[in-house]
């Protein structure tokens, strides 16, 4: 295949995009494409010319399992990446993508990763408290919570809920000693929430749990949580010297 002649290049690009270029020729052409930016641009021009034809097609709804499989594949890839390089990667704590991709990693693993992250990154202003909240049934991580300053809770959404406007999610502390749950506040069902935390510090101790319940609008009237949809144990991150390098 000689690809010097402009007309030949355009013709090959057109047949590549149309799809009549097949088999070995197609694969060889793709090899050329990797090395030849001008040829790639020619292909893009042809795609822009011909692709609008696809608007003719009546949409066909794919089954829901397709999306589930896509998500599962991304989750697997994310947890593999997280398990492989997260402790060394800078700024992971602040990478929402990491948290949002974490779906399949158990809260225990996540908490361990967190602890390691802090251990090796003492320069950042460390959160005082962290918790990873997961669904009990399948360990799917829903939220993580950090306390960046003494009186602020930062609740980051990992996997948003699909509830309509008639329902709200409410955050609670379940004390370590089994005492009565205490409401912290309504949180955003679809995104992150920043909560003021003035008078609840005493309950936020090691071993206590955060829990999220689903409630009617305005939150629980009884002062007790309704159905708990996810929870996680609070972990304080002590200031401590870095861990020794990980053994592999």
């Amino acid at each position: 295949m000689k690809l010097a002649h402009p007309e030949l290049r355009s013709r090959l690009a057109s047949e590549y995009v149309l799809g009549t270029m097949r088999g070995r020729t197609r694969r060889r052409f793709e090899e050329y494409l990797k090395r030849d930016a001008a040829l790639r641009a020619e292909v893009v021009r042809w795609e822009e010319r011909l692709t609008p034809l696809a608007e003719r097609l009546a949409p066909v709804e794919p089954p829901t399992r397709v999306w589930k499989r896509i998500e599962a594949r991304l989750d697997r890839a994310a947890s593999r990446r997280a398990a492989m390089d997260s402790p060394r990667k800078a700024g992971l704590w602040h990478s929402l993508a990491f948290w949002r991709n974490l779906g399949l990693v158990t809260s225990v693993v996540a908490a361990t990763l967190l602890a390691m992250q802090f251990a090796v990154k003492p320069a950042k202003p460390d959160p005082i408290l962290t918790a990873v909240l997961a669904e009990e049934a399948n360990n799917a991580v829903r939220l993580f919570i950090e306390q960046p300053r003494a009186n602020v809770l930062n609740i980051k959404m990992v996997k948003p809920w699909a509830n309509g406007p008639e329902k709200q999610h409410q955050l609670w502390v379940l004390p370590a000693n089994g005492g009565a749950p205490r409401s912290i506040g309504i949180i955003n069902s679809k995104g992150d929430t920043l909560l003021n935390l003035s008078e609840i510090d005493s309950k936020l101790i090691d071993g206590a749990q955060f829990a999220v319940s689903i409630e009617a609008v305005g939150g629980s009237q009884s002062g007790l949580p309704g159905r708990i949809v996810c929870k996680g144990t609070i972990a304080w991150i002590p200031k401590r010297p870095p861990l020794p390098p990980k053994q592999t």
Binding site: S10, R11, S14, E15, V17, L18, G19, T20, R22, R26, V44, E47, E48, R49, L50, T51, P52, L53, A54, E55, R56, L57, A58, P59, V60, E61, P62, P63, R65, V66, W67, R69, I70, R73, L74, A77, S95, L96, A97, F98, R100, N101, P160
Partner: protein
């Protein structure tokens, strides 16, 4: 409305996918899945294969969203090309089923014309290529449509239309040149 807004919306979503926003990805999927599934289904013809193509392509789109900005093509063009390429890669048909013929044209070429016409206002690019397609000879149109929508190779198009291979190749080559001239003018 629409086309510009839709493009801007898809571009924004791809941008967010590029920084790892899974919610943006879910929305992108919702907005494009049925069109892209239709594109693949028409080429690979079997639902379970089209489902796999769609899965592969969306994983691919997620993984490459950060590079999208460098592509400089419209988001739907970019995604459709990914789906078409994947579909063409895996389609391995020994022969064109002649029994399909009536079906084909009912589904693929003629019945969808009115839909296209109804949407002309909103879809400028589509309107242009449809107009240019109408400027082609009937056989050029048929050949190009069969290749584009059904993923047929030259020889499959030739079998399907009962024409010599060389004739079909010429129709397609000249048809594409004419389209280019028309679209670029």
């Amino acid at each position: 409305m629409a086309e510009k807004d839709a493009n801007a919306r898809l571009e924004a979503l791809l941008g967010r996918c590029g920084v790892g926003d899974r919610r943006a990805f879910a929305e992108l999927y919702d907005l494009t899945r049925s069109k892209l599934f239709a594109v693949s289904l028409r080429i690979v013809r079997e639902r379970h294969i089209a489902e796999e193509v769609l899965q592969d392509c969306f994983v691919n789109i997620w993984n490459n969203a950060a590079n999208y900005a460098a592509v400089k093509s419209a988001p739907m063009t970019w995604m459709t090309a990914i789906v078409r390429n994947r579909s063409l890669d895996i389609v391995r048909r020994p022969l064109v089923e002649v029994a399909d013929e009536d079906d084909y044209f009912a589904l693929g070429v003629q019945d969808e014309g009115p839909t296209a016409l109804e949407q002309l206002d909103a879809k400028r690019d589509q309107a242009r290529i449809e107009r240019c397609m109408k400027g082609l000879d009937t056989e050029q149109q048929q050949s190009i449509s069969l290749a584009f929508f059904h993923g047929l190779s030259h020889s499959e198009v030739a079998d399907h239309l009962g024409r010599p291979l060389g004739t079909v190749k010429t129709h397609i080559r000249r048809g594409l040149q004419k389209l280019k001239g028309c679209l670029d003018s």
